[in-house]
Symmetry: C2
Subunit: 430 residues, 2 copies
Amino acid sequence: MASWLQISKNSPFSLANIPFGIISSAKVTSRVPAIAIGDYALNLSVFASSGGFSQLPAIQSHLSVFNQPTLNAFAALGRPVHRQVREYIQAVFRADTPFPQILKDNASLQKEALLPLSDVTNHVPMQIGDYTDFYAGLNHAYNVGVLFRGPDNALQPNYKHLPVGYHGRASSVVTSGTAIHRPNGQVLANPNATPKVPSFSPCKRLDIELELAAFVSTSNELGKPVPIDQAEDHIFGLVLMNDWSARDIQAWEYVPLGPFNAKNFATTITPWVVLIDALEPFRTTGLDGGIRDSLLPYLREKQAANAYDIALDVEITPKGGKPTHISKTNAKNLLYSFPQMLAHHTITGCNMNPGDLLGSGTISGTEPKTQGSILEQTGGKNPIKLDDGSERIFLEDGDSVVLRGMAGKEGSYVGFGDCEGTILPAIKLE
Amino acid sequence: MASWLQISKNSPFSLANIPFGIISSAKVTSRVPAIAIGDYALNLSVFASSGGFSQLPAIQSHLSVFNQPTLNAFAALGRPVHRQVREYIQAVFRADTPFPQILKDNASLQKEALLPLSDVTNHVPMQIGDYTDFYAGLNHAYNVGVLFRGPDNALQPNYKHLPVGYHGRASSVVTSGTAIHRPNGQVLANPNATPKVPSFSPCKRLDIELELAAFVSTSNELGKPVPIDQAEDHIFGLVLMNDWSARDIQAWEYVPLGPFNAKNFATTITPWVVLIDALEPFRTTGLDGGIRDSLLPYLREKQAANAYDIALDVEITPKGGKPTHISKTNAKNLLYSFPQMLAHHTITGCNMNPGDLLGSGTISGTEPKTQGSILEQTGGKNPIKLDDGSERIFLEDGDSVVLRGMAGKEGSYVGFGDCEGTILPAIKLE
């Protein structure tokens, strides 16, 4: 598919993508829905109010969703509507568009609605009601389990029967580009001393977690589980996510109720939601783990191809330095799919709402330099060499971390854009 | 303080209380803020628009907060405003009110704004952004620890250094009177078998957890911790909470990331928020646990009296039967205060928002029949006898559980009202 708009062949936002987000700019001072295409954002508020959707009758009674400061109302319209709108926008931008009058030949609307991405500010695209983080990256769970419990007990007995997950902190989910303060907290200066007495300190073991995350589109009522074969239709789309983790705070606090302060200070997501339909061509088989036939029926999917073939990479740039790629992996390294996570989450009757966010868990491969966390690469002691000669066991102040994810090929990439965060020094308490 | 309104001497909503909630009724079809007094709710939307606040100049520019479907906007005004509004409403209802024209002698406004509680529907009073549940009930943590790890290792090493907490599920917080479906999920039919293979089943070990919970009023910015000596001013007020718990689902799922499906199906709260100022007269010393002097400075409070003297009780009523009081305890059985929880929660820079909910953890005494969960009383095997002769090891379908909490004395009780939930059979999956 070629577009009349000039789109770089390496853009993550090709005509095959059309991801949705929330933007503002110096001129557009209130937050509005938009899509990203090439180096531009299309302001959907202006587009809709200028008759941009006039050739899509099905959306006419819902145009107010494009005048909202979040995507929740649009998402709640459901997958068939998302699909129609995405396909319509693709048709508008196609070189052979059947509707040239809408935008291709409409210089004034182009000027008003097409904003250079470099001029816009991105915002968290949905009002997140609840954020849940899963642990479906089998290789990550195994690698971390080996570090803590040795290879024989690396995976807990429940791991291959259910997608382990926990509730996360929604308020501190931020978009790419937000600087992250190194958290303060309680740590054990000497974990082997007896008795264990914590000290107060800036986190010294600050790490990343490379994840995919899914936004929920449509709700289910409290008490009504979402059946596995309907679960995918409750997913709006995916983003990349960096689940920043303070390993030393986590090690001390996490018994018996799980991670808390180690994770609540920030979680960074990419601002453009890639619709689940845009990823459909990249469907592939995930990790099997030998569990497919032994899962309880409420988790059993019809198709084995329940993952996505998305190339992922992690880059660290020291302050004032150059980037080093420290990891390359693929999103298919997951043992459970988002529909399985949703079916498990709701099997108790738990109600989901539009804007709820589900993290996949850290995505790691099995080979060196394919891990989605630094802990897995260094074991907390063997440094990673950066290209400038410096070394990292964990993150240092001033480090910028970028996660990237791309599916497809040159000219028609379906990508997520950068998921960036730079580490600021810990806050000095008064 | 006597009122011109007839208030039963046993009412939890005496003139000394004035708790805030959100109501609707057959006539008041949209949700509006209200206070409870005796057997009535005062519709604050009608009261405000009818000049009810005309003698309180400070609130004039904020009257729109009483036209909202949640208390978030009112809470965000901050503690000094909550205090003025509460004291003003007390003055309006006093027998010797200085403003008789406002309500006492205004029969038409009484008719319009004072609704019998039996005619109103209560709603979750705030839009809950995030819900966090702590574990500050020392006796509960110890009792459960003994069951799982024996008396020598009952408390984890971190327990006396920080308020252990975890993120909970906000979407399934419901108000008193909402029926609760017994959750389905994965359980181990025989926990001692090898290998461990779960089965799918309705929860067979459904339990309660008696807690207090605090609603946050004012926000802190991401990256800016709330200092301990300012933390109380970020708290709007308290409710009673039943953190329903599926013990068998929890036992299987909870390693290594904590409880998830065992808790996400429902959490019941009382609908009337008792302002933190209303509880001030009942301030008392909580559990000490020998930690007061050894806490890290960010958790150290100026005053030792950091708990509240609130009598709590738990009642179970079998379907069609009579209530049995199974437990009586007191809210002072907490090792950490809500300000300590808030200071700990934000020490990493985590941002809180109006409407965030913080649970205390289960409140238990040390004597028989003073525990806040059934598990602690039965150990999962020694039944509780109900007054009708039936026995309970855990909850049965049709059981209604009521939690109650009252501070003060006859004629001037500051109480929470009932926190009720009835167990419905598990949902049959299609």
